[in-house]
């Protein structure tokens, strides 16, 4: 099939294969385009790699710091070809990085990086979650309705990330103002003995936030995210000190209110 008879879909697939596939895939496209020393294809491939690197730097600032510029660039190129975008908003691309790193032989000596990436992805997506206002009067439902028909209303974009590694300490030591050599040394110590940490990620106002969640809080929030009633969520986290927890999550914007479940 030559350039004058191929249909548009075939032409477009050939160009995509030339850009996203191995260099050998570039041979087919020569049937359809005028190539000038191959520079055009190279320009588009370079554009793609630059876009991949920008996207990962934006979504994964701590992973970027830990890997260094050169390694991040190589990783971005590899991920681009292994898991190219499926949609036109590049802010949505890069979620596969965590799994990709966990399968990488080169990164096997740093097994915590993939969990750190999962945490940073949750922060990245929380940044553009829908806006929501708190509804404090709704907390009165706690004293008027049985917990079986109530559900906690959490901040949009809230996620729980569980890890066998100290990913919260690692992330905060590289992102918080005032990160010190002492803080980094403490993180190093936790990494050496594999201190497990879970994180809660949410947005307070415009600011994405994260902090460590203990096991009971992580269990409760996970249950709520899965659609549990308040009674079921509390049942999933019997060790949670609700009287101490409630004011904290109200103050921090993790909890925005309470709602009665449909049919209640």
């Amino acid at each position: 099939m030559n350039g004058t008879t191929a249909d548009l879909a075939t032409q477009q697939q050939a160009l995509l294969a030339a850009l996203l596939g191995e260099m050998g895939d570039a041979k087919k496209i020569a049937n359809y385009v005028h190539l000038v020393r191959g520079g055009g294809l190279k320009a588009y491939r370079t554009n793609g790699h630059a876009a991949a690197e920008r996207a990962l730097r934006a979504a994964y600032p701590v992973v970027t710091q830990l890997l260094g510029d050169e390694s991040l660039a190589g990783l971005a190129r590899a991920l681009w070809h292994a898991h190219p975008p499926h949609q036109g908003d590049l802010a949505c691309w890069g979620e596969d990085l965590a799994d990709f790193m966990s399968r990488s032989a080169q990164l096997a000596s740093e097994p915590y990086l993939s969990d750190l990436a999962r945490l940073e992805w949750a922060v990245h997506r929380a940044a553009c979650a829908p806006d929501a206002e708190p509804d404090w009067p709704s907390l009165a439902l706690l004293s008027t309705h049985p917990f079986e028909v109530l559900r906690l209303r959490l901040a949009p974009g809230l996620r729980v990330v569980r890890s066998a590694w100290p990913v919260v300490s690692l992330c905060l030591a590289h992102t918080e103002a005032g990160a010190t050599p002492e803080a980094l040394a403490r993180v190093g110590g936790k990494l050496r003995v594999a201190v497990a940490e879970s994180a809660v990620v949410w947005r307070q106002g415009w600011r994405p936030c994260l902090r460590e969640a203990d096991a009971a809080e992580a269990d409760l929030l996970s249950a709520v995210l899965a659609g549990a009633s308040l009674a079921e969520a509390l049942g999933a986290a019997p060790a949670l000190d609700v009287a101490a927890w409630l004011p904290d999550v109200v103050r921090s914007g993790i909890l925005l209110g309470v709602c009665a479940m449909e049919g209640a």
Binding site: L8, Q13, L15, L16, L20, H34, G40, N47, P85, L90
Partner: protein, 299 residues
């Protein structure tokens, strides 16, 4: 979409509003006729980015310029992308919605991918039909006309039934869409043809292109800088990186465009190595001065 400002005497010049200047521009609120943003950067349903855009909208008209609709895709337009754009348009009520005469969406290894680039289309009957169908889909979803931009293209398809200006004019005629005329893109293409030994005078080639554009539907003019890169083998190529000042031949093309189409809204684009806001505002002032000079000469 506002009616293109054909024949109006007052220049209308806006600026591409990028993240490094979100705060500075809101603090100083310089005299600009509009702000242009990349639609996809504001697709998130909430958060700081969209709040910033709505703050800008309170003070300036907004031109929503997309880079990801993939209007020329044989697979059609991504319905999710279109829904996000429609939601943004509803919130912002922009002066113009635009994207490119390009594709990025297609099948690769049996899955739908998006190459996140502005890949050229063959100027064929089939590509024109696909482009028209997709533009109509978008216009129906948005309930307003849109505008489509000519590309800087780093490769050319062998198959061709139309010249580029005829292809774009026919697109406008069939769909009622407008044209975003990027005169820097014209120059980049002509320079690359020159570097490939296929043309001797890029400015003359661009003027011929403009003369051959049989349409009045120019809705916005784009001005930007470009860069010449040299590859490992010593070959040169001009890259449309929007990372420097508009060069003199492109200003000449702008003069030619204004003399033909009048005070069309004009955008200064600067997307990489974004300089201080004052540098951008100097480019805006120059565009105004050039347009005013031309408009006064023809009236």
């Amino acid at each position: 979409m506002s009616a293109p400002a054909y024949g109006e005497a007052r220049p209308c010049v806006g600026l591409g509003w990028r993240q490094p200047h979100y705060q500075a521009l809101m603090s100083s609120r310089p005299a600009l006729d509009f702000l242009e943003v990349h639609s996809e950067n504001f697709f998130g349903e909430g958060g700081a980015a969209r709040a910033v855009l709505l703050q800008g909208r309170a003070h300036y008209p907004i031109s929503l310029h997309g880079v990801g609709l993939s209007l020329g895709s044989a697979l059609g337009v991504d319905p999710v992308h279109l829904r996000q754009l429609a939601d943004l348009v509803k919130r912002v009520d922009p002066m113009l919605v635009s994207d490119h005469a390009s594709f990025a969406r297609g099948l690769w290894r049996d899955q739908v991918v998006h190459a996140a680039d502005l890949l050229p289309l063959p100027f064929t009957d089939e590509a024109l039909a696909v482009l028209c169908r997709n533009v109509q889909t978008v216009q129906e979803a948005l309930q307003r006309p849109m505008a489509v931009e000519n590309l800087s293209a780093y490769l050319q398809w062998q198959a061709q039934d139309w010249t580029e200006p005829e292809f774009l004019a026919e697109l406008c005629r069939r769909t009622g869409c407008g044209l975003v005329l990027d005169v820097n893109n014209l120059y980049v293409n002509a320079r690359n043809q020159q570097l490939a030994g296929e043309g001797s005078d890029p400015l003359a080639a661009c003027l011929d292109w403009l003369a051959a554009l049989p349409t009045q539907a120019v809705a916005e003019i784009h001005l930007a800088g470009h860069t010449v890169v040299v590859d490992d083998e010593g070959g040169s190529m001009v890259i449309d990186d929007h990372g420097s000042q508009v060069i003199e031949p492109v200003w000449q093309l702008y003069r030619a465009a204004v003399s033909r189409w009048g005070a069309v809204p004009t955008l200064i684009e600067w997307d990489t190595a974004v300089p201080a806001l004052d540098v951008l505002l100097d480019e805006v002032r120059r565009a105004r001065a050039v347009a005013l000079d031309v408009l006064e000469a023809v009236t």
